[in-house]
């Protein structure tokens, strides 16, 4: 039932709008307008310098979907996400539990794990690129191997995944520590009185009560992983023989839009990616009801 607002409420509402205006204007100008423009461009054959766009209907979509490049890059994107999401979440969970206990140097460890998040992604990528270098890299030097970590088409996707996991681990961990601290100690006390060991407490108390946080992280990381760009752009040189097995959708979009200057096809790539992400998000939300535990 709708009721008339009082004068005070009206004033408050006005102030609300006033305070969210900066964010709203930013979103509209920097996000909504480009999104609409991108959708429009995906239906156009774009001219040079954004001039002379002509509407061509679904032509770009037919071209992109019938060519192999989109499907290969989509598969590469999933391969990357399949490494990044499960590993970064599981390892972060274990680390969070370990670093949530009382121990010496706890904040030092937390800081160390969080540091990659503070470093610029481009810098992270460059350092890993040299660690992975076949001839002069530290990894091959330490292990005494001669592995082409980032140039061997069979393993390059794993190497890239490792960098991804390493970069995001600390962030996931900090979120999980936050979630852990919300769990009341009483549950653990009750569990230990009932004779539950540490492992059993982890699986029957920690995980169910942490599931909202875990769900949030999984959901946002899936979205983030599917949008992977900078690692691949920085680490994989354009003449890298493994590029075709690693290049995800966004770098391919970048190549079309900015190297080839074909904004229309580029836009089509990202719109298709957007649809994939939307579908996965809906699936995740459906799954949420099954296993996420809100008390």
């Amino acid at each position: 039932m709708k009721r008339k607002m009082t004068k005070a409420e009206k004033t408050e509402a006005r102030w609300c709008w006033f305070f969210i205006a900066p964010t709203m204007i930013g979103l509209v100008v920097l996000n909504f307008y480009p999104i609409i423009n991108t959708v429009w461009q995906s239906f156009c054959e774009t001219g040079d310098f954004g001039r002379g766009n002509t509407f061509v209907g679904l032509k770009n979509y037919i071209d992109v979907l019938s060519g192999g490049e989109f499907w290969i890059s989509l598969w590469n994107t999933f391969k990357y996400a399949l490494i990044e999401v499960p590993f970064s979440v599981c390892i972060a969970l274990v680390l969070a539990v370990l670093l949530n206990r009382k121990m010496r140097g706890r904040s030092v460890y937390r800081t160390i794990y969080f540091l990659p998040m503070v470093a610029a992604p481009a810098a992270v990528a460059m350092v890993w690129k040299w660690l992975f270098n076949q001839q002069y890299g530290l990894l091959n030097h330490i292990f005494g191997t001669d592995t082409a970590w980032i140039s061997d088409p069979k393993i390059a996707w794993v190497s890239i995944g490792i960098i991804g996991v390493w970069s995001i681990l600390g962030y996931n961990m900090v979120l999980m520590i936050g979630g852990l601290q919300e769990i009341p100690r009483d549950y653990y006390e009750a569990a230990s009185i009932d004779g539950a060991t540490g492992i059993r407490q982890f699986f029957y108390v920690t995980i169910p009560l942490l599931s909202p946080t875990i769900f949030f992280i999984v959901q946002t990381r899936i979205i983030g992983a599917l949008q992977q760009f900078d690692l691949i752009y920085m680490v994989m040189d354009t003449s890298n023989p493994a590029l075709g097995k690693v290049e995800t959708v966004v770098p391919v979009f970048y190549r079309y839009a900015f190297t080839y200057g074909n904004k229309g096809c580029g836009a089509t790539f990202v719109i298709l990616l957007l649809l994939v992400i939307l579908a996965l998000t809906v699936l995740c939300q459906k799954a949420e009801k099954k296993w996420v535990f809100y008390n």
């Binding site: 102030w15 006033f18 305070f19 900066p22 040079d48 310098f49 954004g50 001039r51 270098n133 076949q134 001839q135 002069y136 082409a148 980032i150 140039s151 061997d152 040189d237 354009t238 003449s239 890298n240 023989p241 493994a242 590029l243 190549r255 900015f258 190297t259 080839y260 200057g261």
Partner: protein
């Protein structure tokens, strides 16, 4: 009531902060764009040249009172930014133009028409510049950029590696077969620690395109409508290149991960082909006292034992100085271009070791700019060899990138070279048909 006062105060403060930001942005924005320019924004893509160019520009500032801020970007970022700037109407005042994209920028009226200004100038006469380069930046008789430089390609070799494996240094008598023999000798003796030669798929102007033209092949037809990648002569050259890749180079993944320059500078590779714009990199390298330069080898197609026209080719190119069509300071921008391209400063540019000149006959002093290193080979290439203008069309970048992508496979398995070249020709013809 008190709360409300605080809230109002905060809101006003926030609003003030926002408008202050806005004003500041507008201020910096108009700095480069104001009618009476007190500073020109210049963008280039080669960090090795910025010191010399800034020095020349500063002398102009001393007499014109207009500051010149030269910014350097990486090659890829440069084109991304320039295109974004052109699309959004915010280009630098003065910048470098390249044959790869010149046609696209000229057709879309992104560059300042220089005709009337050239006509009125007593310093610039277009007949004084390399015609291949000057013509590249001309469309429908309108000149859009003035040549800044020209370049040639030569062979750099590491004497220490040659001595170690007891192989004779390259000289002007070398054919590509001699080159192959020497490179193979070093590679065989090096047994994985040393290789004769290295180029990656992207080393076209400073690498395999020269071989293609030496063998009598071509990359793109004169009318820019068809690809030459499936021409029999080109295929012959590419088969020879395949032999070089297989027998004298490190695995392609090694070249890709480290880059030819690094491999050469660390003594892993004995020879590298390089453009004159890159001399300074090798001049300032740790082992530069071991480096020598020779002309590129030739291909004795008619078998007469002498170098004939077209048998020793150097793909050449030249950057052009251009100004934005919508710059707010067209006069100042032109004066700076005129300054950079005048005979005096073209000579000076060579003197300072920045690059060879775009002005005919102004490059002689370039050879003496690198004390202790003999780089005559670059000038000899021009006098004794054949200059071929860098293959290009309206969307050069598109087929150039496509070539590189396809050739990665052929570099890794040279038996697929011919099939790859035919695929490239097919794709390139399709792309050219759409231009």
């Amino acid at each position: 009531m008190k709360q409300r006062a605080v809230a109002t105060g905060l809101a006003i403060a926030a609003a003030l902060a926002m408008t202050a930001c806005g004003a500041e942005e507008a201020g910096t924005g108009s700095g480069g764009a104001s009618g009476s320019a007190d500073a020109l924004e210049v963008k280039i893509w080669d960090g090795a040249q910025v010191d010399g160019l800034q020095q020349i520009a500063d002398e102009w500032t001393a007499q014109s009172g207009i500051k010149v801020n030269i910014q350097t970007l990486g090659w890829d970022e440069y084109w991304t930014l320039l295109e974004a700037g052109a699309t959004g109407g915010d280009m630098p005042d003065v910048f470098w133009m390249h044959s790869n994209v010149a046609q696209k920028y000229m057709e879309n009226d992104m560059l300042l028409d220089l005709n009337s200004r050239i006509e009125a100038s007593d310093k610039i006469d277009m007949t004084n510049y390399y015609e291949g380069i000057a013509g590249m930046y001309r469309m429908n008789d309108v000149q859009y950029a003035v040549p800044k430089d020209h370049d040639t390609i030569a062979l750099c070799y590491n004497k220490a590696v040659f001595d170690q494996y007891n192989v004779a240094y390259p000289d002007e008598t070398w054919t590509w077969d001699d080159f192959y023999d020497a490179a193979k000798a070093i590679t065989d003796a090096g047994a994985g620690n040393a290789y004769g030669y290295a180029i990656d798929v992207g080393n076209n102007q400073d690498g395999w395109w020269n071989i293609v033209y030496d063998f009598g092949g071509y990359i793109i037809s004169e009318d820019k409508k068809t690809s030459g990648m499936d021409d029999p002569k080109t295929l012959e050259a590419m088969e020879f290149l395949g032999k070089l890749i297989k027998d004298t180079m490190p695995p392609q993944s090694v070249i890709s991960e480290n880059g030819c320059g690094t491999l050469f500078n660390s003594g892993v590779v004995a020879m590298t082909t390089q453009g004159s714009w890159n001399i300074n990199t090798f001049y300032t390298s740790d082992n530069s006292e071991n480096y020598g330069w020779a002309m590129l080898p030739y291909c004795d197609r008619n078998g007469n034992g002498a170098v004939d026209e077209g048998e020793r080719c150097s793909i050449y190119n030249g950057i052009g100085w251009a100004a934005a069509a919508n710059t707010d300071a067209p006069d100042a921008a032109w004066e700076l271009i005129e300054w950079f391209c005048s005979e005096e400063n073209q000579v000076k540019q060579a003197d300072l070791g920045v690059t060879m000149a775009g002005y005919l006959g102004a490059s002689d002093s370039y050879a003496s700019a690198f004390e202790g290193m003999n780089i005559d080979a670059f000038l000899d290439m021009e006098e004794q060899g054949t200059l071929i203008f860098r293959p290009c069309s309206k969307y050069t970048t598109n087929w150039e990138t496509m070539m590189g992508e396809n050739l990665v496979g052929a570099w890794n398995d040279t038996s697929t070279m011919e099939a790859t070249c035919r695929t490239i020709a097919e794709n390139m013809n399709a792309q050219l048909a759409q231009e």
